[in-house]
């Protein structure tokens, strides 16, 4: 849990000086179930150059958390609580959710 907090803070610090406002967007990534285990996070602010797609977001996430690779092929990707695909362009303040299936019961 401590690790989680540190990670969010450092990421916040990284993201805050969004100098070139026009050329970058900041989104919020939400992690669910297995994605939470793999990243140790429930959410993460992510800065991307404007015009980036959801696929670009995923690439950036996998670069940072290589273990996320294992669930990329089997999860629901939702942008602002709606199903999305990899080629959609993200806007500033968008929420991107990574939702792998749970099978327990």
């Amino acid at each position: 849990m401590d690790v989680t907090n540190i990670e969010i803070k450092t990421k916040n610090a990284e993201c805050k000086p969004a100098e070139n406002k026009g050329s970058s967007v900041q989104i919020k990534v939400l992690f669910f179930s297995r994605a939470r285990d793999l990243t140790g996070l429930t959410e993460l602010p992510l800065e991307l150059s404007s015009g980036s797609t959801t696929q670009d977001c995923l690439n950036k996430l996998v670069a940072r958390f290589p273990s996320l690779e294992e669930i990329l092929g089997s999860m629901v990707l939702a942008l602002n609580e709606e199903y999305t695909n990899e080629s959609v362009i993200v806007q500033d303040k968008d929420e991107l959710a990574l939702i792998p299936p749970i099978s327990g019961g």
Binding site: F32, S33, I71, M75, P101, I102, G105
Partner: protein, 476 residues
């Protein structure tokens, strides 16, 4: 007679009270028997009398305090019995559910697959609400470590089939519905036959292959599926294959890798989390069977217990490319029967833990052998490679905890411990233990590569220690 008498005569008082209690209890029992006999007599009379008789009786017996009776008096244009009207009166009073919803429910049939954490609350509510026929599938037996979440079972049923236990509870809640027990594992060989007898299917299972199998079977048979899942502190809920909506495969065409599939028996689960999802499953099933409201189709509910958040995400519609429900799919009943779901998901349909066998025999010792080594005073180091929160539950004396994930970081600690233990100068032995004996083998493989050639694992882990050496050792 002394009232608040101090010491004297207490034995006589006790005997007097006991005797009076006995008399009262006997009298109470007689009264209860008479009440029950009269009630039965009344039931017989009301079921054999005609509608006219009931109306007459109502005129004399009722003084207008019960609204049900005035309904009978005016007209009955539904097929709910007087007892049903009374039992389900709170449903009937709901304008958006009412007589129509309840009549639909009474005529419907719902199958619940799995009588565990999700199935328990789902079955309790489905039995209580008056579903006409309720099927229960499960092959497991009730265990003590189920009790914290599988609230349909009682301690008296530990060791007995879950289906039997769940059915008994359902019957005790509602004796007027039909309960069908399937004390068997759901497989491609029996799924079509079982599911085809029901209007709505509730997936309350705990593994990936079952989820794909049940979804495919529902597509093939055209049945709506209420799917729930829970693990740790999270839950998911969706209605599949409903009215042209997507199926489970439309969302997850590729099964997650085995490493991503976790079980409650490994990862843990907060009991109330499947409880909440199971209740929501009952709700969705009741809505579909009662033909009221808007089922959670094309949407997925995500429940996060820790942050107290429920999110509902719009999910994709039916995929035209779906291999099972898509436009060009020719997934037939025969193909379903031949489909290997365990191979497809790389996971077993049963929840039995896998037993790996990665090491040669001379790199392993049994828990009994390890006990002998302790008794003989052999100098050794025992490394427990379970995660730290497992180690906190219980551990063997003098073991050091180095979780498998951080084994490499812990190598210096192991070397140091071995040096300290080496009394004779001939070197201390190195043993590795985990919960069930799988991770310990992985750890020994790793240790041997790092130069700890003599590392051995304890076969079957702490579970076998509890089983073969110390029956008082807590298992979990």
């Amino acid at each position: 007679m002394e009232t608040n008498g101090g010491g004297g005569g207490s034995a006589a008082d006790v005997s007097r009270i006991l005797s009076e209690l006995e008399t009262l209890k006997t009298a109470k029992n007689d009264i209860e028997c008479r009440i029950s006999a009269l009630e039965a007599q009344l039931r017989d009379l009301t079921t054999t009398t005609t509608k006219k008789d009931i109306e007459d009786k109502n005129d004399t017996v009722s003084n207008g305090s019960c609204p049900l009776i005035s309904a009978v008096h005016s007209n009955i244009n539904h097929d709910l019995s007087p007892d049903s009207v009374y039992r389900y009166s709170r449903h009937l009073l709901l304008p958006s559910f009412g007589v129509q919803g309840q009549s639909n429910l009474v005529k419907s049939s719902i199958l619940v697959i799995g009588a565990g954490g999700l199935g328990s609350p789902a079955l309790l509510y489905l039995a209580a609400c008056g579903v006409g026929r309720l099927g229960i599938v499960d092959h497991d037996v009730v265990e003590l470590n189920n009790m914290h979440r599988q609230v349909i079972h009682t301690e008296a049923y530990i060791g007995q089939p879950k289906v039997k236990s769940a059915a008994a509870t359902c019957r005790s809640i509602n004796s007027t519905i039909q309960i069908v027990e399937y004390q068997e594992a759901l497989r491609t060989s029996n799924a079509l036959e079982i599911l085809s007898r029901y209007d709505v299917v509730v997936d309350a299972t705990d593994n990936a292959p079952s989820r794909y199998m049940i979804s495919d079977c529902c597509v093939v048979l055209g049945k709506p599926l209420v799917s729930g899942a829970a693990l740790g502190l999270e839950g998911q809920l969706a209605v599949y294959n409903y009215n042209g909506g997507p199926c489970y495969r439309c969302l997850f065409p590729t099964p997650p890798p085995t490493s991503a599939c976790q079980r409650c028996s490994d990862s843990g689960v907060l009991g109330v989390v499947p409880g909440i999802i199971g209740c929501l499953q009952a709700l969705e099933a009741i809505k579909i069977a009662g033909a009221v409201g808007e089922p959670l189709s094309g949407r997925m509910l995500l429940f996060d217990a820790l942050s107290a958040r429920i999110r509902i995400v719009k999910i994709r519609g039916r995929s035209s490319q779906c291999e099972v429900c898509g436009e060009n799919s020719a997934f037939t009943q025969q193909q379903f029967k031949n489909f290997d779901y365990e191979k497809f998901t790389q996971a077993p349909l049963s929840t039995l833990p896998v037993k790996l066998n990665l090491l040669p025999e001379d790199s392993r010792i049994s828990s009994k052998e390890y006990k002998e080594k302790i008794d003989n005073g052999e100098s050794h180091v025992l490394v427990d490679v379970r995660p730290a929160h497992h180690f906190k539950i219980v551990s063997l004396p003098n073991s050091i905890n180095i979780p498998l994930a951080s084994l490499e970081v812990g190598l210096p600690e192991i070397s140091k411990a071995l040096k300290e233990e080496d009394n004779s100068g001939s070197g201390a032995s190195l043993y590795v233990v985990c919960r069930r004996g799988n991770d310990s083998q992985r750890a020994v493989q790793c240790l041997q590569k790092m130069g700890f050639d003599s590392a051995k694992d304890i076969i079957g882990g702490l579970e076998s220690w509890g089983h073969d050496v110390d029956p008082n050792f807590p298992t979990y």
